[in-house]
Symmetry: C2
Subunit: 172 residues, 2 copies
Amino acid sequence: MPVHQDMNESVQAEFLKNNAEYAATFKDSDLPLPPARHALVLACMDARLHVEKVLGIKNGECHCVRNAGGRASDDALRSIAISQRLLGTKEVHIIHHTDCGMLTFNNQQLAAKIKEDLGVDVGDRDFLPFPDLHQSVLDDIRTVRESSLVATGTKVHGYIYEVETGKIKVVE
Amino acid sequence: MPVHQDMNESVQAEFLKNNAEYAATFKDSDLPLPPARHALVLACMDARLHVEKVLGIKNGECHCVRNAGGRASDDALRSIAISQRLLGTKEVHIIHHTDCGMLTFNNQQLAAKIKEDLGVDVGDRDFLPFPDLHQSVLDDIRTVRESSLVATGTKVHGYIYEVETGKIKVVE
């Protein structure tokens, strides 16, 4: 495990120090580019969800796409298309989680905060918040399945990760 | 370490089994929602780049946004805006990497492949490939810095991860 310094050290300095330790015992120099498990995980950016650790994914096994909410955004579909067409993945696993920030606001509230803090008018931009965790997983499963950029017959699964217990629960 | 079965086991079954092991020793049930290091990492979805491990990030410390290329896409800016305005992050660390799939195609080639494989015409859609790794990091640093959704004065750093050595090199 990396040795962490006090919280006043710069993040960059800490990353570089930790990475030097990582690289010192690095043994995966010959992994191929295409993911060995032919799978892509789409998950929230939440700091408490270390995807590879939570799912026991080894180096080189799965693509990992993450954004605020783990949403099947247009950009996530771009990533899935590249993953499938160029690197041979065949299934998508979507992970949202309890205590998600996306459950705590709506677009109008965030627009008002951005206006107040940054002086910028974002109009009716959709930041993809959701009021219902289970439903958001179902919605994103459907969005991926119905996307014209995603191959017909792609397996799409959905889960809820519990930040309180470390467990994933299958939605579909 | 999770015990991995043969490659014929379903990915879902493997995730569930690995996660049961993870949850069995889970001790982080009381971590707060805002990232402790007030930082967000934006990195490629590549299967060989386990971001938290490579940077020595502990549970709860940093948001992690990932997509094909680790690009500062419009959706990545959505995630950064939510991270900064609602969850208090103040810096962005961008990581691209050697042997990236995004170096291997251009938009016309991918459009032709999607047309051939899926029968879909994507028009002139930009899938955000890049021909120069160093330049792509610089471009994305600038995109984040200049975005109206990102707070003025946000620290933005860039790195290249070497999949051959496990090392990150600072671009800026």
